[in-house]
Symmetry: D3
Subunit: 247 residues, 6 copies
């Protein structure tokens, strides 16, 4: 079996979360798949708004470039806002999949409508915009926030995890949804357990995106270079962006 | 590696097309995946409208039931109209994926907009309705029909295949799309060749759906039985539908 | 006055409900209209999901074919999911109207927004999809389910009827709607009484559809055979579908 | 058979067009229906834009008031922009139907998509807005204007009629539509002839609206007075609007 | 600095409200801007439904004509339903802006989603239709009515003002909105005070529209006379509409 | 007259284009407005895709921070893709307006539908996404690209300008639009000239955005800090992003 290397990019700089994400990715990777879990060397420790996303997007691009140089076959952007997704697709040769889109796509295959459970209320607008951009507005029954920051998922107390669980249960009772999408890369480890306990699909985008990239690679489908996702125009980047210069 | 069995259902009764479809499925199946390519014992020889779809849907359900009894882990509905998809999801324990939805989902991951190339013009309305239902109206640049019936793809002349190729080229030139979705299960064998020749993703739903089902099985995600895809209500079916009685 | 014969098809096999529906149809039929209330000889006793609908659609087609042989001028599909509607339109020469579409259309003529009251929660998704397909998503204020099965409407206890009435009252108070659409053929007899009591339009699709078909016949408007509702392609159906062969 | 009186309001002041419209209404009216074809005493000779519509809307309201005083059971607004429709519904006790909405509704019952053929290009935006408001944007394949003013339909030369016919033929060839909606009350007499010649439904809104109002009256469905179509608030109108004072 | 004259049209006949609106306009007008606050000589004392709007639209057109004759550079329609907006644009040479559209546009520039607080519940449907027509359905978090008539804002008791304030506070707590749009010209004086107190943008359409018109005039942008907003066709108006004859 | 300082940020690093943009801004600024035209010290020389936008967004944020420190009252993002808009709104105290949104908003006030003329075809998808996000999909008649890079507008040959002009003329003839939106900050100087020559509103976003910001400042409307545009969470940025740390 030929080996496939997939780069899983945590767009924030939290090493703990990068490990969580990497472990979730490896747990579902096919036998022939190697996971390279990485994060930017510079940026934001967690992503909880558009400002954080704009910073993180540059880190994502730096990692995409590095991944290409390492010859990986595909990339995952492991933050629920899918920061820098289309920019990354321009830069990449292979397929690039965001964890929000992966989870949402998967959810529509196993339920008529899904609900989203995420961290801070201020990130809900990002999920709303993604639903609109991906075409899933009518497939989303409701959006929920546990009102804890992203890094609370890594504080070891289990409080955030318990709040996620409670919100999932409430959503299933009230929203008229058939599945739950977990709205943060840091929730990756919760999906399988909640799926078993609640007996409905509780979907983590990290594992979903890994399978999506594996699938695209197996099908020989790369990011289209015909049209608006073609490689960036050949122009010199200046200052601290020089490292990103694609050529 | 544990074995996974996926049932690929050709909803029409053409054995030749069932073989084409089965071959396309096997060509991309993971090492541990076994493909069971089947078609209904009764129904329509090809599917080119809503009437044909209504007939075919019953055949799909019969095969889903049979597949469940055989213990398959998931199902593919291999006709571009995804006939009987939500009914099949009610009946099935495991995931069920249609080839239209699989191809459309995959296309949005590798291009900002895709075009569809299908057979008879009368089937375009079915694709339009699916784009609306799946949420991909804004992701589809244009729909094209080669104006030949489905079975022309099996007549050995190569004429239909040539028309598909010509339409793909025209679509890439005029539509502002980055990928092509092939709109018929009988076109499955064309995708790889056209992807290579045209250097853009040309996507066949059969292979895409196989990878989707493999992914869902690997992720432990089955059709949600919470809510509107729950098993059918326990009611006696009468007449020639008795065989479908789920209990 | 020339006579018009309209076939009213109850897609389930309940004879009691067929009579209820037939009576509702006759109660509003114009003097020159003859109502033929029929149901399939085989199928499901009630329709409460996509699986039931897929079965029922074949029964609808069998009855459409029979109706055509009897020379009826038009057809009504008397189940709120409008099962097999587009397939029936392909098969039929005359107009075919579903009771969901008829009720929804009528509702938009007498109120800016309507609410729907139906039976089991699992059928709500069917109504949602119809709202989307017919274009009435923005015209529907809310959807409600009384959480009783369809056949509870025929059990003589009056419980289901009382629940429908209570939900209508609640909807008028809370939804910001001006009219109610009754979401089941078995509720046909309730409409007039509730319209009088609640002093708002409470709309039954069976009677609405009969008037729609009468109108289309009077206007000389048949199902278009130009384009995608043309008669089914001439192909031999096999097995127990042979009876459906249109030619 | 009890008699029903329907008021058909031509919103412009052209007596010739009022007669054309009245004749089209009478040609399809049921035996028991009496048609009162009227037009405002003051206003615009034809309606070809928003300014004309705003003037005509007041004339429509004056006629609605008069019709109510005469005890008519329902009203038709016979201009394709449906001017004053919601205002008329507030004022009226019985149902009010516009000819654009009637034609569009009917078209969706006999074809999956329709095209519109109207008079001046500047009126297309009015039709576009109605498609959006009524929910039929996805059901309209294309809009066409013959680029002649409304009153050219009454000049006796037959030129406008010939241009309408040519555009219908072109639309059927190019648009992928199954039916044509005629976009002007003055085209009412063309529908039956074109339906026969072109062998597709060519729909005139005047006759369609008459049947809609007959249907609503027969079903006992009046404009909802619960909520936002309640009678206007009791406030004194001043100046030349005093005649409109509803109380 | 050259002088710019902007006509602010209160579409109802309340002189008190005309003064309120004029004062709100003058409070934000640029140094070089002169505000002409006017209302129709005949019409409705307040606007609370479609009927009222249809009457008011004619008054708006009369004032637009008068304003043009006076050589004003632009016009504001100062009622939250924007009555007669497109008709006024046909008639006017300069720009015409409605206060609902102005407030909604401004709101999208300072918040991702806004809520609307208006007077009677029956006017909510007008706001809904404007949101749809202007494209802001997804930008509106919720609509609220204080359930008091428009003129309660002028009764001096402060009750209506207090209810508006309470609803704004509730909306900010529950809707997930970042800004409030005040849904009535009579609320113009409340905006600045509430903006300060609630520390979020509370937007009055009158002042917003004045700045919009000033901006359009400064940019040299007039209503396009190319296409569907061209001057009305040259046709004689009859009866009491003769005064409106544009030529 | 109190002075208002508006920062106009050219997101690319072209000094020539920064001057062009600054001049366009000053040409329409009110007497009391001071324009600070700036561009990032590092980044891309022109913006022609998502990759370029992601880089530019960071430069925009750096300038926003600098502008705040200088005490400017508002900000304009002068690239037609509005890169970093929502991130900038989080960071800023005062209002932030993008030139694409400003031009699109203004266009809907003077025409029922507008067309866009931009530079490279690959940027069309960015405009499409903005139309969707801002709600103007139905207000855009068509999108056109002259197929020349952004910097061709600065090469002094006049070729790009001539192509823009030709496309505007074609759009007005074929699209059914009433206004043109120029889709690049570098086209700012063309708007007034083309407005005069073509006698329709040809709208430049730079000047439109300046007036929008002036208006918001005059109305006392700042970016809402209630909810999802609140200041970024207080977290340490690392590496070359430290300069951006908001606190």
């Amino acid at each position: 079996m030929s080996s496939v290397r997939i780069q899983v990019i945590n767009p924030n700089t939290s090493l703990a979360m990068t490990e969580t994400i990497g472990a979730a990715a490896r747990a579902v990777a096919a036998p022939g798949t190697e996971i390279l879990a990485v994060c930017p060397s510079a940026g934001v420790p967690s992503i909880e708004g558009h400002f954080d996303e704009a910073i993180a997007a540059v880190g994502v691009l730096e990692q995409i470039k590095k991944g290409q140089e390492q010859g990986v076959e595909g990339h995952v952007i492991a933050c629920f806002g899918d920061p820098g997704l289309l920019a990354a697709r321009e830069l990449a040769q292979g397929p690039v999949v965001g964890i929000a889109e992966a989870a949402m796509h998967m959810a529509t295959l196993v339920a008529t409508r899904f609900s989203i459970v995420t961290t801070l209320p201020r990130t809900l607008i990002i999920a709303r915009h993604l639903l609109q951009q991906y075409g899933f507005q009518d497939h989303c029954a409701a959006l929920h926030a546990i009102d804890l920051p992203v890094l609370a998922l890594e504080d070891g107390s289990g409080l955030a995890q318990e709040k996620v669980r409670a919100r999932c249960i409430q959503a299933l009772k009230e929203d008229g949804c058939g599945a739950i999408v977990l709205g943060c890369g840091g929730m990756a480890t919760l999906a399988q357990e909640l799926t078993r306990e609640l007996r409905v699909p509780v979907i983590d985008g990290v594992s979903a995106a890994v399978k999506m990239v594996e699938s695209l690679v197996a099908l020989g489908l790369s990011t289209s270079k015909h049209g608006d996702l073609a490689f960036p125009e050949n122009k010199p980047l200046s200052g601290h962006f020089q490292a990103l210069n694609p050529f």
